[in-house]
């Protein structure tokens, strides 16, 4: 029971309507690992420079994340700067991207990373995602994330990776762009026709939808009163989703539906604070309580108790 993840480990400068954080711990692989390590053994593949604070490495180590695949080199760590507007918290505006050492990143998997049950290819250049797939040995589940930049600039390589994975995880807008339709049903059909068994479309504050052959499953997002920083919601969604499956050792469609709820719950915690801060003290019990709430939210026959909405009148 282990997951190998490849992706960015970064320093982020993020501005939201509620505040600003400079050089906070970020990156898709960081967010994913922080979430998934609540469930299972995570093996991280990435690169950081000599400007990367030792305390961040120590944090991941204390989560039990295997860091033998994290290259540490002289040079600059990947840095992303972004901003969220009040009326569009779902979509970051990128203000600056400095690839640093990530520009020449060549993912190398330590020998025992290759036998992982699951592989998560976070949002990086699809040619690097392919390099990772060449190094792993028959994982039970291969999951890919991507973004509009790669769809526009390297669709051929992205299509090759998509044809080799089991689950494609994309933002709704990206799935529509890649699947070339305004209808997510049609886009899903087009993506699944390339080989994957499942398309998981992330809709931010509107939840997530799972598409498979003759199957549609929908999970709303958790209704929140506090949102501080949406960064990392998608990657921690992936961390909860894959973490749950790896821990359960069950990669069936039935397990994936429950895993989507774990992903949604995990993402809901992430955005309640900056960076990975909310996850520092989060327990699996906290996540499970929100997962149980989801069953109430959409249960048409049962009682729907949601204490957050207690009215004092």
């Amino acid at each position: 029971m282990s997951i190998t993840v490849v992706g960015s480990v970064a320093l982020d400068t993020v501005e939201t309507p509620f505040g600003k954080k400079e050089n906070a711990l970020g990156g898709a692989a960081t967010y994913f690992s922080t979430a998934a390590s609540l469930y299972t053994q995570v093996q991280l593949v990435g690169v950081v420079g000599d400007d990367f604070p030792e305390q961040h490495v120590e944090f991941l180590r204390q989560r039990g994340v295997d860091l033998r695949g994290l290259q540490r080199k002289p040079g600059q760590t990947f840095h992303w700067a972004g901003k969220y507007e009040y009326d569009n918290l779902n979509n970051a505006q990128t203000l600056d991207t400095q690839l640093g050492l990530f520009a020449t990143f060549d993912p190398q998997l330590p020998e025992d990373y290759r036998a992982a049950d699951c592989v998560f290819l976070a949002n990086i250049d699809p040619t690097l995602q392919l390099k990772v797939l060449e190094q792993v040995r028959q994982p039970k589940l291969k999951v890919l994330d991507s973004m509009n930049f790669w769809i526009s600039s390297n669709k051929a390589a992205l299509t090759e990776v998509i044809s080799k994975v089991d689950v494609v995880l994309m933002n709704e807008g990206e799935a529509l762009q890649y699947g070339e339709s305004f209808s997510l049903v049609t886009a899903a059909r087009n993506i699944l026709a390339l080989g994957p068994k499942v398309l998981l479309a992330k809709k931010g504050e509107y939840g997530a939808a799972l598409f498979a052959d003759r199957t549609y499953f929908f999970a709303p997002a958790y209704p929140l009163e506090t949102v501080k920083d949406p960064t990392g919601a998608g990657d921690t969604f992936a961390g909860g989703f894959l973490g749950y499956l790896s821990r359960a050792g069950d990669y069936s469609l039935a397990a994936m539906k429950r895993a989507v709820l774990h992903g949604s719950a995990m993402a809901s915690f992430t955005i309640e604070d900056y960076s990975i801060d909310r996850l520092r003290t989060l327990t699996l019990g906290d996540v499970e309580r929100r997962v149980e709430d989801f069953a109430h939210f959409t249960n048409v026959t049962g009682e729907a108790i949601f204490e957050s909405l207690r009215l004092e009148r």
Copy 2:
């Protein structure tokens, strides 16, 4: 078992990325009545001019809609012209509004309309909504719809109506605007504090959320491959919702959850064609089949069969 509805009966000119219709049958009360008349007796209060085609009146009469409250006067029928962009099908851009006779509309309820079980105050001037409330006699359920225009221009009157109804139905953006929060949970709390038992927030292609004391219920929208014209989705949602409750004679929170699914299913049919065209041939059986699908979409334990996504590979 009857619903009295007050609102616009209109001629709409609508342009979508998929085509254009001029002077098609429209208006909130029309859409609502067309949907709700599948379930129950509907009594319509509105006004049209001598330019309003007799065939439209005949259509509503054939649906069994009681039209004694529909005033027919010399002058112009309310006309709305709007446009939907490909990347924002949820939100119409208003190109033109000609109030015509609606500018001087004074809703008068025939005597036996006053004893209706339900009253639906469609989106009109809140001072007119108040006039209707003064004429009805203790209905079991009073439901209000409104829009950003009234929130900006006449919030005091709108607040007075809101304090007198049981259910507030608004688009998500309007609920946030009226409730003065970026969080729908907080906005709901603020709206419910004024008196209503339920806030029903319509999220277009992202479904609908019901808020009540300690209760949150969410229904996704029906996943579609064909969308022609989103006009009237919200009003037919209301028609399915109230129609179901009136037919069931049950106005409990438990019934409302199932009613939300009827509303969502009804709206999903509406947008598959222009104007009320898809509803002309729709049966209650068609609606009920989509309602049953909803149970699968969010059921984490059961089988989720969705034949529309059958892949032929």
